[in-house]
Amino acid sequence: MIKAVRIDERLIHGQVAMTWTKSLKLTGLVVASDEAANNDIQKMTLKMSAPSDVKVIIKNVDDAIKLLEDPRASQMNLMVLVPTVKDAVKVAKAFPTEVELMNVGNAGKMSGPSEEKVTLTKEVMLTQPELDSLKELVEIYPETVFQPTPAMEKHSAKAILSSH
């Protein structure tokens, strides 16, 4: 069961490990990132940053989608972590109805601000192609929300997009 797909350029960190795993009662985290899947050091640190009772697997986006199609995945409470909006669209296209929560966490801040980036919220800055991807994502999942941690306020992606 895909409890949530979350766009978070930091993948697994405090917000995910401490708050989302608890509130969604997650049993597994699926990191779907082409970059992380090919980086052994990053794979190791990502596995270390998850709570010990939550399983972690790091795959490139295509393999992650294959993994999620495994019937055994429906027995688990999973959160899929993707680093970019584009990856989220890819996952959303593969699972157009199964995702219970489409969540935008952190994006575009690690590479620093630049002229071509649009600041949507304190946590999310996107370039024009990424904004187009977000529109595509909202078409598949109109309920997409911006929310860093479960305790923080939800903002509908639709509303944010229409005000930009």
Partner: protein, 269 residues
């Protein structure tokens, strides 16, 4: 003046030491309040404040942006005010939560407006390859950050103690009683916040064990703490044993290259 200085010192040792030694928990009220009490010559009030506040703030853990409060400032100020009011602990408990929230905001403001702009200096030093300079600047900012923060309790005690006392004295007893009752409930809130993070089905039995031992056996807290320590040690030893038993076969498994499928099997196990 002396009081203001030592309270500022206690808060500085707490928050700065906490960061210096890698989140060593020195900024917890249970450390800061007795330290401030000791320096002010009333360690008992310090201990009582420290324990009461620790119960309230036990669940307050600041992770990235999900930060809620910085209790060291509140602990220092509460101790100073309580001692100045002749050991009146009940009166100051209700004011500590707003103080702790304010403390976090101020700490973050110093961080954003004083430490933040220093980032360019680090970049400059990095470009010059000046490693020593980076280390030095790191410690300077550490000192400035928490030194500025410690100035808040300094001035608060220097000018604020009398004001706080007058305000608290002028609150009618009816309202003060209400605040005291509310203050007594706060540890339950603190405990609840902690449990929200730590609750797990496997550990829940111990929670009820503690409640039973407390309510029916009427053991003092020290005895319960000692029993808890013994249980923790026994469990840790057993876990170590189990880990030792598991280690040998698991290592063999890892020796062969973990194929993608093996990884998936482990994930679904």
């Amino acid at each position: 003046m002396y009081d203001a200085f030592v309270v500022a010192l206690a808060v500085f040792v707490g928050v700065a030491g906490h960061e210096m030694f890698g989140m060593s928990m020195l900024s917890r009220p249970i450390v800061v309040a007795p330290l401030a009490g000791l320096l002010m010559g009333d360690i008992q009030t310090g201990l009582i404040i420290g324990a009461s506040l620790e119960a309230i703030f036990m669940g307050v853990v600041n992770i990235g942006i999900s930060s809620t409060a910085e209790p060291a400032l509140a602990a220092g100020l509460a101790t100073a005010f309580a001692i100045k009011m002749g050991g009146n602990v009940d009166a100051v408990i209700p004011i500590v939560f707003p103080l702790a929230v304010l403390g976090l905001q101020l700490l973050n403001m110093i961080f954003s407006f004083v430490c933040g702009p220093m980032a360019t200096n680090f970049l400059k030093l990095a470009k010059e390859g000046d490693e020593k300079g980076i280390v030095k600047l790191h410690y300077v900012i550490w000192f400035v950050h928490y030194g500025l923060y410690a100035l808040i309790p300094f001035f608060a005690v220097l000018f604020g103690a009398n004001v706080v006392m007058t305000v608290l004295d002028s609150i009618p007893p009816v309202i003060m009683n209400g605040l005291t009752v509310a203050g007594n409930l706060l540890p339950a809130v603190g405990m609840a916040m902690l449990l929200r993070m730590l609750w797990s089905k496997n550990l829940a039995v111990w929670f009820f064990f503690g409640a039973v031992v407390m309510a029916y056996f009427e053991l003092p807290l020290i005895a319960i703490a000692a029993i808890g320590t013994i249980i923790a040690i026994v469990m840790a030893q057993r876990d170590l044993q189990l880990k030792g038993m598991q280690a040998s076969p698991a290592q063999q498994g890892q020796a062969t290259t973990v194929s993608g499928n093996q990884e998936e099997e482990d994930f679904f196990q």
